[in-house]
């Protein structure tokens, strides 16, 4: 990676922080309206342990939810990709399920499994993020040109050989496209549950406690921490994409 590639976004972030600071200062906003970046430093130094513990909570539950979404989403996608009937049967169900705003599901799940906070959080992260994965895998598989299959089938290869050697790798670019969307969704799901659950854990709960205690710098510090974690998660997926589906990137000629 070139020097410029790192420096450009870094400078953009610094400029953004400077504008934010300037805006708060110029408008003379008090802390409860809008904290400024210079207030965040103290919040982090004061609560750094809480940030680490809760950040880890949010992180692992998001990742577990996402992994579940990958497994189940890929499974559903495979079923829909290989069978027309299953596609016709499942597609409207999935679309309908996906259309339900998850903010309405969060309190239901929180009540359904009271006390199982980890489980609830992972469940919401999973529910909110498996849809794009299922759709992308099913589209990737169902649009595989029949000739690809014939090349191997005519040599006596089994369906599963065709899947592992051709269908799966060929679907990877679409899969990672969906995973980039899914990782952000899972992250949002985790935080929704953390904020809504009484006695929750994670950055969402930390945000909530900031709210209860009118600690506005803490609330803004959580937002920034969430943004940083979101960026990290997203770029992990991008890195995985480079490794496993880098061939799909068009070389500039």
């Amino acid at each position: 990676m070139s020097w410029r590639k790192i420096a450009t976004p870094l400078i953009a972030i610094l400029v953004f922080l400077a504008l934010w600071e300037a805006l708060v200062w110029a408008m003379g906003w008090p802390n409860y309206r809008m904290a400024s970046p210079s207030d965040l430093g103290p919040a982090y130094t004061k609560y750094w342990e809480l940030f680490l513990v809760n950040g880890w909570q949010t992180l692992w539950r998001t990742v577990v939810g996402l992994l579940l979404a990958v497994i189940v989403g890929t499974g559903i996608g495979m079923v829909m990709g290989f069978s027309r009937t299953m596609r016709d049967a499942l597609y409207p169900l999935l679309v309908g399920f996906n259309a339900i705003p998850k903010a309405t599901v969060v309190p239901i799940v929180a009540l359904m499994f009271v006390g199982a906070h980890d489980f609830n959080t992972v469940l919401i992260a999973f529910m909110i993020s498996f849809f794009p994965i299922a759709v992308s895998v099913s589209i990737g598989l169902s649009t595989l040109e029949p000739e690809y299959r014939d090349i191997l089938r005519s040599l006596g290869a089994s369906q599963s050989t065709v899947f592992w050697k051709i269908a799966l790798p060929k679907t990877l670019p679409e899969f990672f496209g969906a995973l980039k969307v899914a990782v952000t969704l899972a992250f949002i799901g985790t935080n929704l549950m953390e904020i809504v659950s009484p006695h929750g854990r994670g950055l969402g709960a930390l945000f909530d406690s900031g709210k209860t205690n009118s600690d506005y710098p803490l609330m803004f510090a959580v937002l920034i921490a969430l943004a940083v974690l979101g960026i990290v998660l997203y770029y992990v997926v991008v890195a995985l994409e480079k490794i496993f589906a880098g061939w799909a990137e068009r070389q500039p000629h």
Partner: protein
Amino acid sequence: MENLIEIKGVRHAYTTASGPLPVLDGLELAVPEGGFVAVVGPSGCGKSTLTRLIAGLMKPDEGEVWLHGARVTGPRATVGMAFQNPVLLEWRSILKNVMLPLEIVPTKSSRAEQEARARYLLDLVGLAGFEDKKPSELSGGMRQRASLCRALVHKPEVLILDEPFGALDAFTREDLWQTMHKVKQEEPFTGVLITHDLRESIFLADQVVVLSGRPARTQYVLDVPQTGPRDLDHLYTTEAAEMLAILRHQIEIAQGRAPADEVSA
């Protein structure tokens, strides 16, 4: 001479939403060992279906398909296929693409021997030096050459080509015709070539079979003399022109644009 491919009285219909669609009806085809037969016919008449039958990818409703004295009942590793779409795997190098069939077909040769064979074939079709390139770095004609190598790498008894040059521009196509002659000389095969280019059919094949419109049956068989046309200039001789005129007339009959004459088979 023994026929390597023999198709007898094949009848087949697809089940579609609007009822059965008969595509083949009384198809006869015989290709002797080492023979190269071109199949021409109106678009949608059932040519690709025919290739899928020979490859054992599907079974006919009626009739028999024989390959090397054995009834075809399913896929067998002894065919090589190439299509209009070269269907190379973008994530593999050209060399690895060509070697793909060897991962399916059981072979006794070592990995080094397999690679040597793939390299030899790539060299034969003029792709030496492109072994490590990715398919996206190659032109359409070059991809088709690589696809041809992949179809040949496991030394199949039968080469099935379904309009492999159909999407190429005229000059690239003629280049590939000449490459085909070279390949046939160095790596003799028994082949079936589906094409919609009549010049291509008489240039490459030693027999041209005209199929009728759907449902297809064998409508006419033209034997191309051993002597040619085997280089591009020969395509412009009176002999070639006569063959082309006959074939064009037969295609018009197949399309229903000219009345059938009594002499047609």
